[in-house]
Symmetry: C2
Subunit: 720 residues, 2 copies
Amino acid sequence: MNLKKVSLAVAFFGLTLGGLYGQTLKSPDGKFQMDFSLKNGTPYYQLKYNGKVVVEESKLGLRLFKDNNIQFASEINKTEGNENDLNQGFSKVSEKRDTKNESWQPVMGEKKSYINNYNELTVNLHQDKQDRTIAIKFRLFNDGLGFRYEFPQQKNLNYFVIKEEDSEIDLPSDMKAWWIVGDYDTQEYQYQTSKISEIAAKWAGAVEQNASQFPIKNTVQTPLILKKEGKEPLYVDLGEAALINYPASHLEVDSQNYKFKTHLTPDAQGAKGYIQTPFNTPWRTIIVSPTAAGILDSKMIFNLNEPTEYKDTSWIKPTKYMGVWWEMIIGKSQWAYSTEDNVHLGKTDFSKLTPNGKHAANNTKVREYIDFAAKNGFDGLLIEGWNVGWEDWFGHSKEDVFDFVTPYPDFDIAALNDYAHSKGIKLIMHHETSGSTVNYERWLDPAFKLMNKYGYDAVKTGYVGNIIPRGEHHYSQWTNNHYLHVAKKAADYKIMVNSHESVRPTGLNRTYPNWIAAEAARGTEYDAFGGNNADHTTILPFTRQMGGPMDYTPGIFQTKMDYYFPGDKRMVKTTLAKQLALYVTMYSPLQMAADLPENYAKHMDAFQFIKDVAVDWDDTKILDAEPGDYLHIARKAKGKDEWYVGGITDENKREFTVDLSFLDKGKKYEAVIYEDGKDADYDTNPQSYHIYKKTVTSATKIPVKLARSGGYAISLKAVK
Amino acid sequence: MNLKKVSLAVAFFGLTLGGLYGQTLKSPDGKFQMDFSLKNGTPYYQLKYNGKVVVEESKLGLRLFKDNNIQFASEINKTEGNENDLNQGFSKVSEKRDTKNESWQPVMGEKKSYINNYNELTVNLHQDKQDRTIAIKFRLFNDGLGFRYEFPQQKNLNYFVIKEEDSEIDLPSDMKAWWIVGDYDTQEYQYQTSKISEIAAKWAGAVEQNASQFPIKNTVQTPLILKKEGKEPLYVDLGEAALINYPASHLEVDSQNYKFKTHLTPDAQGAKGYIQTPFNTPWRTIIVSPTAAGILDSKMIFNLNEPTEYKDTSWIKPTKYMGVWWEMIIGKSQWAYSTEDNVHLGKTDFSKLTPNGKHAANNTKVREYIDFAAKNGFDGLLIEGWNVGWEDWFGHSKEDVFDFVTPYPDFDIAALNDYAHSKGIKLIMHHETSGSTVNYERWLDPAFKLMNKYGYDAVKTGYVGNIIPRGEHHYSQWTNNHYLHVAKKAADYKIMVNSHESVRPTGLNRTYPNWIAAEAARGTEYDAFGGNNADHTTILPFTRQMGGPMDYTPGIFQTKMDYYFPGDKRMVKTTLAKQLALYVTMYSPLQMAADLPENYAKHMDAFQFIKDVAVDWDDTKILDAEPGDYLHIARKAKGKDEWYVGGITDENKREFTVDLSFLDKGKKYEAVIYEDGKDADYDTNPQSYHIYKKTVTSATKIPVKLARSGGYAISLKAVK
């Protein structure tokens, strides 16, 4: 007999007998129902969709340390009894209900406005013994549930230290999951596809090497996309919203019972959050839809974030950019200037060092990039390796790695910015911290002043390697606060931030819209390092991108490293046409054309799509989608009568018919279709593509054939 | 048979047979001899004074972690083998000798100039197997030995992480020790007096509660004063010089073998130093003298520091100050403004809170203090509790405790500074960090700008409570770097720093003279908390003060707390006259008159000495001294023909004759003698004192009687 089923039966039996569910909350459209109950003083919730259980009765609560004097990580395993925990001994004292139906306009987004429509239930719970009150707030939308813990300021709960948050999500069946390994320091894992019941067995094999990593056994990361297969499929997306002053959460997997539980990122002492009341935790989110497209349509995570605090957002702008970058990633050039391997900030005279002859960020090369980017209408040019310190920036737990203000001898910061501005583009700053957050904070003001002085308005930050303060993790409360500190301070200087190796976004760009994008997942660079799977970009929109834009850096036309280094087997597993499609499927208001100018120059006809495509949108239609398989999206350019369509597939060939019914009725559009060539194949013939034009209307249907890991892109401009 | 003696015999036997000592170094006066040897690839040294062994053959070396990826504290106990250690497998490749005899002038000091006279031996050692070279540098002065490890930049030793430094100091006999418990987070322990052999048994009993502490079993702190008693007494003072970018060291005690070994302060991960070559460790110092006065005369620790990096030091000035402080320490007033116990920086509107009615730093009271301090010729007035955040500043591991720029509603920062300046004194800033170093660093620039704006030129910093970044300690490498970062940044703003709860000074005020003083030991405030022993101030000059000035905050005239709170048993265990003496015996160019104006007003005749006494000196004579018993010092005021003499005793009455032979021959001086009254006693009659005047010459001898924990002070001004 299935143990899972036994416990289920007991739960329902209890329900029937005892009438335990005190509170019921329904979504505005009535399709969702959330039931809250207290059982022996412990809070539980259950979620139904169309009358069927989506999340079984699941426990809520937190465990706390007795006091704030955590000394070392080992303490986390100490048994302290549950006297101090916030997971038992509760009685319900009151409830409060609210409802909201509004729309709001993101500074930049996938649509002009987002609808925020929910019914809310706040349950106030009291622990008699400890005389403490907490609240659990539930918001039920038409696309799922969000809940969080709220801690009012009170005599017996002013300050506490979290040992663990134990929010359970108990699923009724063994769903299919697209998952990556839970880790305190990296999100750059390859996706695994398996049943929940298989995760435990597959977990260890899914751990790959990373520059900084701390994999946590049998946990997976959020957002996590799940699918109940069968006649009535259901998609469930587990995530997190509004991660502020709190550690990022992973999901512990109970493979036998198809149950997940939050697992927070600890600090150097093993503690998981230092809280001062009043305080609200981030939201735990459960997005539910019968279609995969419905998941992508959900803006629940953004709705659960607060409106922006910024009064003026006019300086925050969508940006299409190129970069002196890919040539270092593939190993053709270097970030470092010299042949040294041990340099001292403020002491080493870099002008006296022997140049290594491979430094990309030099005056000549940067001017060439500026020329190409400017000629092709880009907004910006990222330059990495412009500043001193790259000789020994990584792997030494070195604190004072970079000063963010001193250019290498061959990088004339004033002249190059002048040159770029004369051509109508801006240089994009690069601040690699090497994980040394404290050093970065010491330099923030002078670094941002330098940017203001020379006219930079955007910075790409990086956190490669172990975090300093040592023992902190990339996703611990302290480091999460650091990222936000940087974003806020950047806003003081009207600077946009694109953070790499930072914590996964949880919709914070609604509140802090200058934090326009992040990496926080395995990006295109991994293709140069060892390859992403062909289905990688069909999964990311359901996971990493649910919380905000990703700087995925698409646009690789020369996918074979053999081109640069004869015999080199590395490759980007994609056709050229699929790379074009990514500009539509991978939403970001900051979008890079990552390849070298020389590679674009050979395919200017295809490059035209990258030049044309918008990066900020008035509308988005998910035409069809299935995680791990394919994705077809149409988007309407902000403020223009132009649409762009992108479609991609995994390692399998596919056919699809693009139904243009989303176009305005009666209008004519000139369509340019960029599709895989007949013989295109990501492995054998990635650069085979076919471009043709066609006048179309909303009645037109365009058939497309996608090669293995192929794709297509269509631009549609209204004919006047 | 004594095991100790056996091992000694073996060592000497080895010496005789093998001629192991390759290198011999003598002090300039020939009295000291240091012998270096390699035994089976491990370095040893031995120190003799006047032909007798002072330090027996003692091992040198360091243990390293295999790589930089230390994850948690538990790793420190892992056995890794010694392949990577720097303590074995050495062969000597070369030696280098040097000598120096110079004098230099401190910006402020006990004498106008200090003599720096030593012979130096650098032994270059090579590990063949690892192909690494290190050096050990010995400097032998006429007052003892300093040595350090030097790590040249090289292919196989660019970066490493220290597991422990194992510098041994093996003493030949069971000396008397005045010691405090070794601790990663506090130095504020009461001194213990015992034989070395008794430390292990007495250690646990010597651990007292502190706001932040991490006592390390069977370790003691440096500087440590030791005495070989008997017919030919010898004093040995073990310390540390030039602690930069390295953790502070404690001494592990081998009570059976009278042996000490360095024990460094770990970071949150248990690692003890992240090193990039080239790098030199701090110096280990062994000061030796047949007299206790000789120990106090030693300026070896300062000599082992580098000359100042500052070009202009004219803004660094000796400062005598009062403070709105003691009344909070004793509990009469409060730092906090309101009755709240949970406030949020940047959110709480303090003007809306209910005042607690005990806030000392208010406009009225501060003006009264200004009036009194100005009228009596003080340079500055410290005001604590001026800024918002004190309501919940301590014990909550709260990161954003203070912003260092926002005054409480009843503190008019502009008006009060104007008022003070109009009276010729400066307000002294107070920056309590509550241990949250990262928060303080975020606010450093605005805080120092605020000081410049209002004309503050000195700041007292504080680090009460556990350090944030959490898991770091008060004396770990990271935090030591923080203190220096603050001092250097303060110098950019021409601000002097007086740091409390910071790491013990190691002579760094030679290099960074604006770091004019520190607390870093148990100060007068402990008298209000629970009492210092009567011998406390007779020991501090041999320990804490060997490395630099201490802001001890003497001058308590009202020693009985019963005066404020009837029935309160707390007391400062001292006579009033002893408090005067401390201005001479406790050297600091920053000197406080800590008591309340009302208490001074009652004893203006005695207060005259505090008004008169200098705080910066052209000369210092240690007239007589014995740690734990008594101390008599005469100092000549900087640039004046004035001398000040101070003498103190422990819990025992004493008599002493002050021989004024240090005065210029043939000149007449007017002496004012402040001595204990005939019936004076720290317990029964502390405020009994007697003042008289006398014209004296260098031939005069002044007899003084010191009460139990009593003292005397003499001012001597040349008659023109």
